[in-house]
Amino acid sequence: MSLNIKRAVSLYSYQEEFFLRKMSLEDCIAAAATTGATGIELVGEQSVPGCPKLPSDAFVDQWFGWMDKYKVTPVAHDMFLDYNKKKGHYWTDDEAVESFKQDIRFAHKLGFKIIRVIVNTTPQIIEKVLPFAEDHDIILGIEVHAPWNINSAWMAKHWEVMEKTGTKHFGFIPDMGGFTRRLPRVQIERMIRNGADPEIAKFVCEQHEKGIMAEYTIFEVSRMSNRRIDMAVAELSRHNTYVNPLSLVPHIDRIVHIHGKCLEMLEDYTEYSIPYKEVIDVLKKYGYNGYIATEYEGNRHIQDIYEVDSVEQVRRHQVMLERMINV
């Protein structure tokens, strides 16, 4: 039994209701707290108008008021680097560092201890911004998002920065979507609604579950169909990767936070695509002791015809986490 893994909710999970103004920021925080999660993750540019400009003192007061009222803690802020924000101009390293610093100031002001670093951030940028992060007591975590895995070449370059600097302020944030053993059913069905061939989709799902490398599947599908939508189905297998959860083990002390991605939480409190129990067993066995933050992302695949109920999806995910953590 591990009491060390903690539960958080990324308010990203409620994006459908927030987008449609069915839930306010406070509603999102309240919903998260109701699940028993004790931490809050925030995509600043989603939830806080003007971000990464520093929020007003009034907003900051209200924010911490909410934290107290709902008994939750700010855990992580998700940043972006818009290298090509200006048309025709690609940011210099200095410009990127300046943008990054602003996110650090933003996160610091709202009490976050961790920043989720977007995957296109170069190791050089991180090295340059590290002292500033350390000064602000912010831990940076590069998001390990499918199709990357924690040992991918790109992540190895970031790992070299961790090794070289010996810093305690830079690590990995694996997104559980990197353990997609079955292709997400909601995504497949959406593509069939959009015209994909159901037989080809079935074939792709079977190949994926067998662990067949996506290149083979894509090649075979290219011989079955010349329709773009069918190729897009085949390419799902390339983007929604599965790797052995043991891949995390050599880096366990460098995992600073985890994204609990979910696209379809079933009534029995399992996720359709991701074998959570197996990953969490590895995390427990090797002593991970940070947060797992629910990141529900199924809305985009069902919103065309179904009513999205993010609150229920997050609730189920938190029940699942709670049970697995405390077994």
Binding site: Y12, Q15, F18, F19, L20, R21, V43, E45, Q46, P49, G50, C51, F80, L81, D82, Y83, N84, K85, K86, K87, I118, V119, N120, R300, Q303, D304
Partner: protein
């Protein structure tokens, strides 16, 4: 993502130079206006020139060139912007089919982020 919410039917109306529609950004966060690479509107199947499209967010209106250079002002997630589109001829009242394509320049995506919506709207 958010395709069906892009065009907000209730906001459609005629104005002195053409017509206007309400539009939401098909993305899960806000972006600076400069990151909106393309806004393409079609009227009854006919694509209108992009420089005929002005956008109003946060009570400020931007033409194409101003939009492309606006790296500060943001189109926030879920906010309904107003697109006002100049048309060469007066728009006949009643129902028209409006197509909308929005293309965003997102740093971490190697490919353009293009999303489309189409709705039949009533204009008065």
């Amino acid at each position: 993502m958010y395709e069906k919410y892009m065009i907000v039917p209730e906001k459609a109306k005629k104005n002195e130079k053409g017509f206007e529609i309400g539009v939401r950004l098909p993305y899960y966060r806000g972006v600076s206006l400069s990151m909106v690479e393309e806004i393409e509107v079609s009227l009854d199947g006919e694509t209108l020139p992009q420089n005929a499209v002005n956008i109003t967010v946060n009570d400020k209106t931007y033409n194409l060139e101003q939009r492309e250079n606006e790296t500060n002002d943001r189109w926030e997630m879920g906010d309904i912007a107003t697109l006002s589109i100049e048309t060469p001829d007066d728009l006949p009242e009643g129902e028209h089919t409006i197509g909308l394509k929005i293309n965003l320049r997102i740093g971490y995506m190697p490919f353009p982020s293009i999303r489309v919506d189409e709705k039949k709207l009533i204009f008065h």
